[in-house]
C-alpha cells in the first residue's frame, strides 16, 4: 500500500514540472514585453534595463527558467506590478475563500444531485425523471455568471433577503482565524451567529457555482442506479420479495460512493475554473476575483501565480482521489 502511495506521488512530479514549464512559457515566450510589464509603466529605459538585469531577464531562457523554478521552491511568485505586493502573500490570503466556496458548491451538488438522480431513476419516465432531465439540460447550458446575476437581482436586490456579495458583514469581526474557512472557523469557535452570517453570504455564490455539476451528478447517478437496478441480483432480490427501498438502500447506496469519488475528482478542477466567474459576480474575495482583476489590469504575475496554484491543487486532488481509489478498490494498485 505504501509503495503504491509513494509511486503515485512520484508520478505527479513530472506533471508539476510540466505545469511550471507551461506557465513559464506563457510568461516568457508569448509576444509582449515581460520586462516592460514587470518594471512598470513609469520606468525609464534605464530603469527597465536595470530591472531586466536585477531579475535576470537579460539572460538566456533556460537560465531564466531555472531561476524562476528555484524562486518558486522558496515560495517566490513574483510581485504584482499594480500593488507591488508579493503574489504569494496575496494568494495565501485569497485561497481559503475560494476553497470554502468550491467545497460548499461541491457539497450542494453531491448532496442534492445524488438523491435527485436516485429519484429520477426510481421513478423512471415519470414526472420526477422528466423534471430532472429538463432542469439538467437547462443547468448545463446556463452561464454561471448570468445565473449569479439573476439570483442577485431577485434575492438580493429586489427582495433584499440575502447579501449582495462579500464573505462576511464588514462591521463584524470574523471568527478567530484557524482554517481560513469562515464557516468552519465559526463552528470551531462555537459562534453560531457568525456561522449564520457566513452561510448567508455563502448561499447564493455556492448555488450559482453548484448548478452545473449538480446536473451532471444527477444524470450520472440516474444512469448508474438504472444499471444496478437491471442487474441480475437485484432482480433476484426483487423476486424474493425484498422491499424496494431496501434494495435501493443496500445496493445502490454502496455503488454511489465509488461513483461520487470519481465525480468529485473530475469536478473539483472544473469548479476551480468556474469559481472565477462566480467570484466576480458576487465580489467573493477569492483567487478568481484576484485573477480577473489582474487580467483586466494586465497585471501578469498574479495571473500566472493563480494558474500555477490552481493547477497544483488540481493535481493534488487527483492524487488524493487516485489514492482513495486504491484504498477502495485494491485492483487499481497494480497499475
Amino acid at each position: 500500500m505504501l509503495g503504491f502511495v509513494l509511486r503515485r506521488i512520484a508520478l505527479t512530479i513530472p506533471v508539476l514540472l510540466g505545469l511550471t514549464v507551461l506557465v513559464f512559457a506563457i510568461a516568457r515566450l508569448l509576444p509582449g514585453d515581460p520586462v516592460a510589464l514587470a518594471a512598470g509603466p513609469n520606468a525609464t529605459p534605464a530603469e527597465i534595463e536595470a530591472y531586466a538585469r536585477e531579475f535576470g531577464l537579460d539572460r538566456p531562457i533556460p537560465v531564466q527558467y531555472w531561476t524562476y523554478l528555484t524562486g518558486l521552491l522558496s515560495g517566490d511568485m513574483g510581485v504584482s506590478i499594480f500593488t507591488r505586493r508579493p503574489v504569494a502573500e496575496d494568494i495565501a490570503a485569497y485561497l481559503p475563500a475560494t476553497l470554502e466556496l468550491v467545497l460548499a458548491a461541491m457539497l450542494l451538488a453531491v448532496g442534492l444531485g445524488l438523491p435527485a438522480g436516485l429519484a429520477a431513476a426510481v421513478w423512471r419516465d415519470r414526472w420526477p425523471d422528466t423534471v430532472s432531465r429538463v432542469l439538467a439540460l437547462g443547468a448545463i447550458s446556463m452561464p454561471r455568471f448570468f445565473l449569479g446575476l439573476l439570483l442577485q437581482l431577485g434575492l438580493a436586490m429586489a427582495l433584499g433577503w440575502l447579501p449582495l456579495g462579500g464573505r462576511f458583514p464588514i462591521t463584524e469581526d470574523p471568527p478567530p482565524l484557524v482554517t481560513g474557512l469562515l464557516t468552519l472557523d465559526a463552528l470551531l469557535a462555537g459562534d453560531l451567529r457568525a456561522l449564520g452570517l457566513a452561510l448567508q453570504h455563502l448561499l447564493l455564490p455556492a448555488v450559482a457555482l453548484s448548478l452545473s455539476p449538480l446536473a451532471t451528478i444527477m444524470r450520472m447517478m440516474r444512469a448508474s442506479t438504472l444499471e444496478v437496478l437491471s442487474r441480475d441480483y437485484v432482480l433476484t432480490e426483487r423476486a424474493l420479495g425484498l422491499p424496494e427501498w431496501q434494495i435501493i438502500g443496500k445496493y445502490v447506496a454502496r455503488n454511489a460512493v465509488s461513483a461520487t469519488l470519481t465525480v468529485i475528482g473530475l469536478y473539483f478542477g472544473w469548479l476551480l475554473g468556474g469559481t472565477v466567474l462566480v467570484e466576480t459576480v458576487f465580489d467573493w474575495p477569492g483567487l478568481g476575483l484576484y485573477a480577473t482583476k489582474s487580467v483586466v489590469t494586465q497585471d501578469f504575475m498574479p495571473v500566472i501565480g493563480v494558474t500555477l496554484v490552481i493547477g497544483t491543487l488540481f493535481v493534488a486532488i487527483n492524487l488524493v482521489v487516485d489514492i482513495l481509489y486504491g484504498v477502495v478498490d485494491p485492483r487499481v494498485r497494480v497499475t
Binding site: 452561464p143 455568471f145 472544473w270 466567474l277 466576480t280 495571473v303
Partner: protein, 294 residues
C-alpha cells in the same frame, strides 16, 4: 419504420434515413436544431435584421437613454440610447462565430496532432500526449485568462487563447481512433503494397475518424460559445463598438437593478444559444455515433 421507406434503397441510405427518422423522433433534438438554426441565422444575418443598424456600428441616441422595453425598442435601450435588440442580434456574430472558430481551430490542430501522435507512435506520441495532458492540470478558463493576459485583449487573441485549451480533447480522441485502426487489415494491406505513410494517414485513416470528430465538434460548440461569453464578461473580449453578448452583460451589471433589460436579454441570448447547440450536439451524437445507440 415502413417497408416502403426501405425498398430500393442502398443499405447506407437506409441507415441514413433511419438515423434521420430517429433524430426526428427526438423532440429535444428538433428543438435543438431549431434553436441553433435560429442562432446561426442571427450570427449570419443578425446585423441585417437589426431594427437600428446604425447602433450596431456605434451610433448613439443619447436622447433616448434607458428606455424600458416598448414596441419601438422590444428589448429597451441602454446607457447611450442604443437599441438593445439590435445589439443582441448583432452580438450573435462575434459570440457564435468566435465559438465556432474556437472549436474548428481546436479540431483542426487537435486532429492533426492526434493523428500524427497515433500513427507515428514512439517519442512523437509521448511528447504530444504529455503536452495534451498538461491541459488537464489547469482549468480551461484559467489557462485562457493567462494566455489572454499575455496577449492582450482582442477577438483574435481571445479565440487563440481558448483554442489553446481546446485542442487536447480532439488530439486524444483522434489518437485513440487512429491507434485502434492502424492494425486493421485494410491499413496493413495498404502498407504491404507500399502505399506511403502520409498517404495512408490522409486517405485511409483520417476519413474513418472523421465521424467522432464531427460529433465532438457539435457537442463542443455550445461550451465554446459559453467560454467566449465568459471571457467577454471578465473584460477580455472584443473592442468597442463591436457588440458581444458577454461584454454587453458585463456593462449591464452596473445598471442592473433599474435597467434590468440591459442584462436579461443578452443573458438569455447566451443561454438559448448554448442550450440549442447542446441539444443539437446530443442529437447528432445519437445519430452518428453508433456506440451511444441504445
Amino acid at each position: 419504420m415502413s417497408a416502403a421507406l426501405e425498398a430500393g434503397a442502398s443499405p447506407r441510405r437506409v441507415a441514413w434515413r433511419r438515423a434521420v427518422y430517429r433524430f426526428g423522433q427526438s423532440r429535444l433534438s428538433l428543438v435543438g436544431l431549431a434553436l441553433s438554426g435560429l442562432v446561426l441565422a442571427m450570427a449570419l444575418f443578425g446585423g441585417l435584421l437589426a431594427p437600428y443598424p446604425e447602433h450596431v456600428a456605434g451610433g448613439i441616441a443619447t436622447g433616448a437613454r434607458f428606455a424600458p422595453p416598448s414596441l419601438a425598442h422590444p428589448f429597451g435601450t441602454n446607457e447611450l440610447g442604443q437599441d438593445v435588440l439590435s445589439l443582441v442580434l448583432a452580438g450573435a456574430r462575434v459570440s457564435v462565430l468566435a465559438g465556432l472558430a474556437v472549436v474548428l481551430l481546436g479540431a483542426l490542430v487537435g486532429t492533426a496532432l492526434g493523428a500524427i501522435a497515433g500513427y507515428a507512435g514512439g517519442w512523437t506520441d509521448e511528447i504530444l500526449m504529455r503536452l495534451a495532458d498538461l491541459k488537464l492540470t489547469v482549468p480551461g478558463l484559467i489557462l485562457a485568462m493567462a494566455v489572454a493576459a499575455a496577449l492582450g485583449p482582442g477577438l483574435l487573441n481571445m479565440v487563440v487563447a481558448i483554442a489553446l485549451s481546446w485542442w487536447p480533447g480532439f488530439a486524444r480522441l483522434v489518437r485513440g481512433e487512429v491507434l485502434a485502426r492502424r492494425e486493421e487489415p485494410y491499413i496493413v494491406a495498404a502498407r504491404a503494397v507500399g502505399v506511403g505513410r502520409v498517404r495512408i494517414l490522409l486517405r485511409h485513416l483520417l476519413p474513418n475518424v472523421l465521424t467522432p470528430v464531427i460529433v465532438k465538434v457539435s457537442l463542443d460548440v455550445g461550451f465554446a460559445i459559453l467560454a467566449v461569453a465568459s471571457l467577454g464578461f471578465i473584460g477580455i473580449g472584443v473592442k468597442p463598438p463591436t457588440p458581444e453578448w458577454g461584454s454587453l452583460l458585463a456593462i449591464a451589471r452596473s445598471y442592473m437593478p433599474d435597467f434590468w433589460w440591459m442584462a436579461i436579454f443578452p443573458g438569455l441570448a447566451i443561454f438559448v444559444a448554448v442550450l440549442g447547440f447542446n441539444l443539437l450536439g446530443d442529437g447528432l451524437r445519437d445519430l452518428l455515433d453508433p456506440r451511444t445507440r441504445r
